[in-house]
Symmetry: C2
DNA sequence: TTGAAAGCGCTAACAG
DNA sequence: CTGTTAGCGCTTTCAA
């Protein structure tokens, strides 16, 4: 009996009167042992509190089953963005564990990553920025990478993403009359979801002979929003699609401060949902993303790659259309 | 030359005309080589793109440098709670990386954890619940554990936490007149921060001959808050301390709906801050936590333990007092 | 200042 | 069905 160190496979073998190989096979379930031996060895093992050394196991073969998780910092990270990310992370963790993998949090820093001491088998990058150096570093080191969201200018598969373009198009189709004048208010149009929503809106406008234009808004301060609204309203729009929930709430307040009625004078729609949107007056119509689904798909796709099977290159998750009072459904 | 697999220490040794031992020493900086040899070996290594295999390294000795991170799910997780957690996680990741460690996301599930295949060197548990089974599993497996926040009924060190009791006491001291009638509105009094804030409030009341009582509120819906306010207001309170920012915002709205002026008739204070609190009318006075500091302290304490040095058993982080309009500073 | 040998704990390949 | 052997890639003795 060893004294204080953890029991090794040899201790178990000795105690059970078999060889290390047999112990290994008994525990990993290789199909070559008698049921009786297997049971006995397992009993001895658990009696000794034996836990296989994952490092030795990984060294011999397939690696440790570690997946990196990089979450790119948004310059304008709002609370709901954080919630979105953490949902992805939680679900990806759960999915990974179910397949014997685990997620390692990685800093969004190409330099640090290029000298990473941890042996990763793959990585998930959430919301990569344009030409993300982190992606390059990870791919260059020969790692499998799946992105959640994508760099619109450089779509390397596999990726998973919300189908924001389709969501925006559908939401507009359900709530805004053809031939309308629509504006989109963006804060960070480089984010792929904003880009996609804009594409969807543009397409809807093309399909319905509507007028569409996009207006940047420099921040969430009332002054910034007022400035953007000056431009937008001078174009006599009757519908405004806003990049995110936070901006939607401020926009609603600023519209109302001008005496503009929502939805009476202008329809208001948000490209992201949040728990706050049902509680504004009026409540705000929005598309609703499914981060938990993204987390699950990303982890599965990555694990498939690692196991050698080719996952789908691109997976789009449909959005829910949440139709509230700020842009009610068109009458059939 | 090996074909597709990664270069090993032996490849480097062969290319440099030395033995594996020398390569190892050259790269890890053991002090027994001539400067010349060291430089040459390092050059060859980087030319071959050699990266030491962390598994083999860990197997021989000290482990891999992996720390588990468990974030306990709150039954009533609000957006700002998520932000708080993710800040802790980010800073802990950064701190860990600086010391050659990495964080692995763990599910909050005792069963899953008890058969964890990943070789962890320690774990950080954020906001453990009362008698948290996850803590027990981790500790029983002989792992170093640091908690952020603590189970009030079972404070096992080391832990780090916000000093919510002191924060509440100080904030009340700055804004509420002695001899007042104060109520605290709680949603989940089992959370240690709520418990602590209540202790602080109680202590302030004792010190200042004020009256204090605590009232549970079952949720964030207007009806739930109205119900709690019925009880509270019937006690003629002139100050209300609320468990969190979200509840504070709803409480403000419901008070105003009754025609009660804040701060004229009743002072309102929140035990957590959020980016929304400056923008309410009136803005809401609050204590402000420092999750980034907690993340850093937790990671350092854990790494200290692993390295064999005894970290401080308990580390309290002082809160900032953010005095806004809903409870202005007492005049000197 | 360097080399040779011996493992860390496990499993794959090959015998029996 | 089970045992023996030979490593995975590295570091740590110990010897030169």
């Amino acid at each position: 009996m060893k004294n204080s160190t953890r029991a090794t496979i040899r201790d178990v073998a000795a105690a059970a009167g078999v060889t290390p190989t047999t112990v290994s096979d008994a525990l990993t379930g290789k199909g070559r042992l008698s049921a009786e031996t297997r049971v006995r060895v397992r009993e001895v093992a658990s009696q000794l509190g034996y836990r296989p050394n994952a490092l030795a196991r990984g060294l011999r073969g397939k690696g440790l089953g570690l997946l990196g998780l990089v979450i790119s910092p948004a310059p304008s990270a709002t609370l709901s963005t954080v919630w979105y990310w953490s949902t992805i992370a939680n679900k990806a963790t759960e999915t990974a564990f179910a397949s014997g993998f685990a997620l390692v949090l990685l800093p969004h820093n190409a330099e640090v990553l290029s000298s990473m001491p941890i042996p990763l088998d793959g990585a998930i990058v959430v919301d990569p920025i344009a030409h993300d150096p982190v992606l390059k570093v990870l791919r260059d080191s020969g790692m499998f990478v799946v992105t959640v969201g994508r760099d619109p200018e450089n779509e390397i598969e596999p990726w998973v993403d919300d189908d924001n373009a389709r969501g925006a198009r559908q939401l507009l189709g359900r709530t805004v009359r053809p031939g309308s004048r629509l504006a989109m208010l963006t804060m960070d149009p480089r984010k792929s979801y904003a880009h996609d929503a804009r594409m969807g809106a543009q397409q809807w406008a093309d399909d319905t002979k509507s007028t569409f234009f996009s207006q940047a808004c420099s921040g969430l301060e009332p002054e910034a929003v007022d400035l953007a609204l000056d431009t937008v309203l001078s174009q006599k729009v009757n519908a405004i699609l806003v990049q995110n929930d936070k901006l939607a709430i401020v926009t609603l307040a600023r519209l109302q401060a001008r005496g503009i009625r929502v939805p009476g004078d202008v329809l208001l729609l948000s490209a992201t949902d949040s728990p706050d949107l049902p509680h504004t007056k009026p409540s705000i119509t929005a598309t609703h993303q499914h981060p938990e689904r993204l987390g699950q798909l990303a982890a599965s796709a990555l694990i498939d790659s690692i196991h050698g099977s080719q996952p789908p290159g691109r997976q789009m998750v449909a959005l829910d259309l949440i139709i509230r009072r700020s842009a009610p459904a068109l009458r059939g």
